[in-house]
Symmetry: C2
Subunit: 185 residues, 2 copies
Amino acid sequence: MAATVDCLVELGWSGTTTTVVARRAGVSRGAQLHHYPTREELVLAAVAHLGAARFAEARERAAALPDGPGRTAAVLDMLAALHTGPLFRAMLELWVAARTDDALRAAVVPLEAEVGRETHRLTVELLGADESRPGVRAAVQQTLDLVRGLGVSGLLSDATGGREERRRRHLLADWARHLDTRLEA
Amino acid sequence: MAATVDCLVELGWSGTTTTVVARRAGVSRGAQLHHYPTREELVLAAVAHLGAARFAEARERAAALPDGPGRTAAVLDMLAALHTGPLFRAMLELWVAARTDDALRAAVVPLEAEVGRETHRLTVELLGADESRPGVRAAVQQTLDLVRGLGVSGLLSDATGGREERRRRHLLADWARHLDTRLEA
């Protein structure tokens, strides 16, 4: 599973063949094909598996988040980390490949929806957001689309220096202040 | 140029070979290779060309935007259209492919930066935003990262029905109200 996601991150969807993954993972092709007959099944299983592990880890780390002032900013930092790390990049490879591949798309759409719901739930919980109040649900969704956008913006520019990371931190610190007002309004 | 972007949108980066594009455009391989010796050069030229055309078109359409109340919402609709249409999808194919291809990346990074600057300029102009005032530049950048995130969110789900489009409209209408407050503050 880890070797598959590593391949996606390093080589992209087109470079992630079952042969390359089997070699990297040190497993026989027979054993691999027994569990995952196709590249699509292998990659989907790997992304779903590592996604679940990453959420579990995020929930554990969430226990260490500060209470009171600074909590919203800390939650946004955590969300930004989830959207700039290797797993986000692996998922983006999969979403983009699925756009032009009907069979892959049929499998990826429910996975994307599940990841979206789980991220939303985690965010609401960590922010202590009361979605029954007007505007709160929209504020949470905008936050998630913003960090997704920032993740895509960092795709190429993160590697070219710390400038994009500074821009992201600045925008999120500013967003945290406004979000606090919107959650309390 | 148009045939190249059509291929990217329909077939993705991996399906966009010079042979496929030449056949679709009805040009000889010789003529094509004379102008664009590699797939990278062809695709970059096409995306840059259509990007410039799309900006020119957006500036023209901007003349028809309403003044006064409703203008911000209309500008956001226009930005959302720029980030959900075929050109955005073609660009995303290119950004994602460039992530794992060093030669392509070297060419794509400046193009992405230019597109980013141009989009920022257009947005500031259309919103009449005064970036010398505190918080205004951050609000404009958040707007652009938000629409970029919404564009990625719509990548797979836009085709599965109007639900994602309704979500996008709702979030942007809500954001337009907050953005107005922040631009005037």
